[in-house]
Subunit: 640 residues, 2 copies
């Protein structure tokens, strides 16, 4: 097993500079002449000069009568001028050519009776008044557009006005994307069933979209299996046909690392390994004078590394300017330690809570593509840093417009499937509003509220001593915060088991049976507290439950474990079991409330959410999910 | 002649609200299901739920050996564990499926000899370490995308990972554009010759581009002549086929005003006339439940009115959010009076001079499409205002990125054709730099420098008493400003006459001959001062020159007058005459300098320009224009 390890990793900026400065982008992309009507968004390859003047002839600038100005001099209501229709005053409309012998337009509103002949003129006009003179807009020979600018719709108009019907523009660089990996199922075949040990290929779709957005013309080739010779052949052909070649997924340091060998065979490896995370296994090279990028296989790595290296390259070839993302000062919701020596890109959701924008980190794994989908911004931890500190201001790159952040309600707390439903209905009701919910468990939500990191949170913390929900915990963790407890639903908690309940699990006691593998929720989750309560109530020791230590963060994740057979049972809500077609053994109904500080309650954005919560539309849809009782939904059940 | 006058004009905001609130955009556009791989940039029509989990099975997250974690417990360098290759330790690569009976990966770098059998493990791994567990990214049944969001490349990836190969998206609204006007030559035929009294049609190209940018699918129909019945027929058909109909150029208050009648015949006119300038003759209506816009004929009006009414409508139909333009506080370079009661949109160029961004107005005529092409921003003068004051801060909407403004050198002064050349070469040398030159005459340039409105200016002011250029004027107007005078060129001034010089004009004296029509430059232009000097030197009275009062602002505009036969002669530079193929009677060489305050001279951006001025590339290109002597080019000829 021969493995290539990145001994000489390069910092991000140095790698980019090495890569981009290696190619003469202007010469590499070249130019072509195209029809002006089809040139929107293209970039001029040379200055463009007007071929004709606009207007090319004097035109009326108003509706009225074309006259010789001198004939109107001295006109006044008490001494009007009379002009013979068709000879001294010729009816004319805006845009029409001025008749010979005329040099001004009397506008129709200033003529007492436009139907008379002769017409009466009661005020003089000066020469060229209400006339668009030759060249007013453009003069033949004048520069219409400089070199290197993007052609807007109005620039197309100006070019056509100037008689320029064809224009020299930078060519659109062709970007060939070569996915590699024998285990992959092509993106085009994902609608068919495929074995569970084969993986869907979708990075090529992501990269093609990003290449197009950067100004390139993407072309995705068939998947090349793990074979140096096949990849070398494909690369050679691609480097002959494209301006840029992207090889995806072949650049990890494993046995699949054929990209390095293929590039080294045919050309030169400039960079192998970049001190960034995600994105470390990035390869940058040159084959046949063309830039080649070996793009990492994990989708988040692929995106971030493409952004750093391929996007500026493609934009440069296209002659386009890549706009930097807007920035915003934000406050991390928690400490974010990061490995020194690596530039880390942390995806976060953002929401304005009080006067601060709070950045809540999303999963940091390079394989979690949803962390990009859900992200509102990216925090960049410099290589020199050991991480970011909770509540200490940092700059975020925004992936959404700043207004979107002001329209975001941040919920941190327990997970419930109806939160997704609420998010949908809220956004449908008001496009400027979004609900972002982070799943940190009920107790995690109370902590977040104590620290001002969330607008509200979902909670279902049962207190056996008082036989109530949430209130004792709020009194302990948020004693001084004026707030309201608003019921969202009563929901059925129970055991999720495989269809047909093959292990015949009926009670909590069955969880201690040998051969029954349980999957638990994380510490601080209301569902975990409920399990502990039920075990205690039945006199059972958690140590007797096989899998008590295995933790998941959401009901759905627990359901997936049961569904995929890695566990036989988990505690959770009916909606989650139903979503995956599992059987469900109901144990107890429980109250699920929203903990809403008064500062949030009085916020018009939350009031809009409350309207949704109290709407029949929401309540009916929740009932349809299964396991929900909406008898108290939207009621303020307690306040302090 | 029956004319429709706008009696009930509506303010911009009221008109927009009336128009947009009239239609149920969601219902009007509808949705369709398309392939996920083709969904980039489309907007989800419903929430999208994951059909499969990702990963769908446990996968190795690193390269190494899949093991049962329990087998490694207690491993240490002094008490290693030995695992049988292929049974207890199975070689595995990132992304591959975990073999049955394994639950962790020992990464290859941690194995002393990866080729040995058994392999030696010197440190334990915990269960699920280096494993991507089922559902880590996405859980089947989970919401992948909410309704109403634009699909990014990574969202496409997430959808495909979730097994969603087809997705419900908002339909792209079809926008049919109908140009009207018998005098127009279709955009597609502008490469052929056409009579001077016919006008090029290019608004449809501009509007189609803007419709596409707003999220629509534009379709431009053939030009409809000025005929109510023909237009009514076209509108009826278009309203049946499209979501939006734009009729262009038929909505002025002239005899061509058939749009009003056609819309009124078939449906309802909601707004006729908006209190905006340009853009007043805007018509908004409804036919067959579809929005119809009668878009004004002047190109700048067409653009601005489309932006206010059609763009938000189309974006709304497409489900997209129109990003507001970035704003910037700027200082008008001059007073900008504006008619109260009308919202005026003034196009400006922008440049940072000292610590202020100076806004220099471009021509305000609605027919001057180049005013949009050259604009860096738009100043909106509210209807309640009588205008903007010089040097008083106002907010500009930016048409270029803010960085572009910081990279702009602002030249105000005399016009010379080599300034265009300089702009091109500067931008080619450094894409972040632009040269914006405003033509206000030599004296106007000195005024602008005195008021801090420009970085530098071109000047060729001859002083007969001292027989020198510029210095006496600088001493008078800028006595206290430390500056340098840098020569750009000596250039040939002379009389531009028609090819073959049919009126045999040889000297300044010939300008006073009966039948010789002259075209002059504006007051304050160095060329006009030169003419005055030459007339005085020859004992001639300006009153004897027919056309002395007719003014143009640039050499090229003077040349156009001669070229189009509206004048027989004008004073100007050889380069302008040559550009239009005119004959040229040389009269005198003159010195053309740049007046450069020290604050500008020391600016790295200007130093870059100076490099260009002193380059052989620039000087050779200038000589090729004709009439330039570069003997002093780039020299500092005087300083104070």
């Amino acid at each position: 097993m021969k493995r290539h390890i990145y001994l000489r990793m390069k910092p991000v900026d140095e790698a980019r500079e090495l890569f981009l400065s290696r190619f003469d982008l202007n010469a590499l992309s070249g130019s072509e002449e195209i029809a002006t009507v089809a040139a929107r968004g293209r970039v001029t390859a040379a200055p463009v000069w007007a071929k004709r003047s606009a207007p090319a002839i004097h035109q009326a600038a108003m509706d009225g009568f074309a006259v010789l100005a001198a004939n109107t001099f001295g006109a006044a209501p008490h001494s009007p001028r009379r002009l013979k229709l068709g000879q001294e005053a010729i009816p004319i409309n805006t845009g029409h050519v001025m008749p010979p012998g005329t040099d001004a337009v009397v506008i129709v509103e200033n003529v007492p009776d436009p139907e008379a002949d002769p017409i009466i003129i009661e005020a003089p006009v000066f020469p060229w008044q209400n006339v668009r003179r030759v060249g007013e807009d453009l003069v033949a020979g004048e520069m219409v557009l400089p070199e290197g600018v993007e052609i807007t719709p109005w620039a197309q108009g100006a070019l056509l006005a100037a008689g320029v019907t064809r224009v020299a523009v930078r060519r659109v660089p062709k970007v060939i994307i070569i996915p590699t990996g024998a285990e992959l199922v092509p993106a085009a075949e994902l609608d068919k069933d495929f074995p569970v040990d084969r993986l869907p290929e979708f990075n090529s779709v992501i990269l093609a979209g990003m290449a197009a957005a950067a100004g390139g013309l993407p072309e995705t080739w068939d998947i090349v299996p793990d074979d140096v010779e096949a990849l070398t052949r494909a690369l050679q052909e691609a480097a002959a046909r494209a301006e840029v070649v992207i090889i995806n997924a072949g650049s990890s340091a494993g046995t699949a690392d054929y990209t390095y060998q293929a590039v080294a065979n045919l050309g030169e490896v400039l960079v192998h390994g970049v001190t960034m995370m995600p994105g470390k296994p990035t390869l940058l090279g040159a084959v046949n004078g063309k830039p080649v990028m070996g793009n990492p296989g994990y989708p988040v790595s692929a995106v971030l590394s493409f952004e750093q290296f391929a996007a500026p390259l493609i934009a440069g070839l296209a002659g386009k300017r890549l706009e930097p993302r807007p920035n915003l000062t934000v406050y991390p919701a928690q400490n974010l330690p990061s490995k020194p020596g690596l530039t880390e890109f942390i995806r976060v959701t953002l929401g304005r809570v009080g006067d601060k924008v709070i950045a809540t980190p999303l999963p940091r794994g390079a394989g979690v593509i949803t962390s990009l989908v859900k992200a509102d911004g990216i925090l960049v931890v410099p290589a020199s840093s050991e991480g970011l500190e909770e509540n200490r201001p940092v700059t975020a790159e925004l992936l959404v417009p700043p207004e979107a952040i002001d329209g975001t309600l941040v919920a941190l707390g327990s997970h419930d499937n109806t939160l997704d439903l609420l998010a949908t209905l809220l956004h449908r009701r008001d496009r400027s509003l979004r609900l972002s919910s982070g799943h940190v468990g009920s107790q995690g939500g109370l902590m977040a509220l104590a620290q001002g990191r969330a607008h509200f949170g979902g909670s279902h913390l049962f207190d056996p001593e008082t036989n109530t929900y949430n209130v004792p915990y709020i009194k302990r963790y948020l004693p001084d915060l004026p707030l309201k407890l608003i019921n969202l639903a009563w929901r059925e908690q129970g055991l999720m088991v495989a269809p047909g309940n093959p292990k015949n699990i009926r009670t909590v006691k069955d969880l201690t049976r040998p051969g029954v593998r349980f999957i638990n929720r994380q510490r601080g989750a209301g569902t975990r507290l409920l399990l502990d309560y039920l075990l205690r109530q039945n006199g059972l020791d958690p140590a007797m439950v096989q899998g008590y230590q295995r933790e998941e963060y959401t009901h759905m994740a627990v359901a997936v474990n049961v569904h995929s057979g890695t566990a036989d049972a988990g505690l959770g809500i009916l909606a989650a079991a139903k979503a995956l077609g599992l059987d469900f053994v109901p144990l107890t109904p429980e109250r699920y409330d929203l903990v809403v500080p008064d500062s949030t309650f009085n916020d018009p954005r939350f009031q809009k959410l409350l309207e949704v919560i109290r709407s029949p539309e929401y309540q009916e849809a929740a009932v349809a999910l299964g396991g929900y009782d909406m008898k108290d939904c939207g009621k303020i059940v307690w306040e302090q």
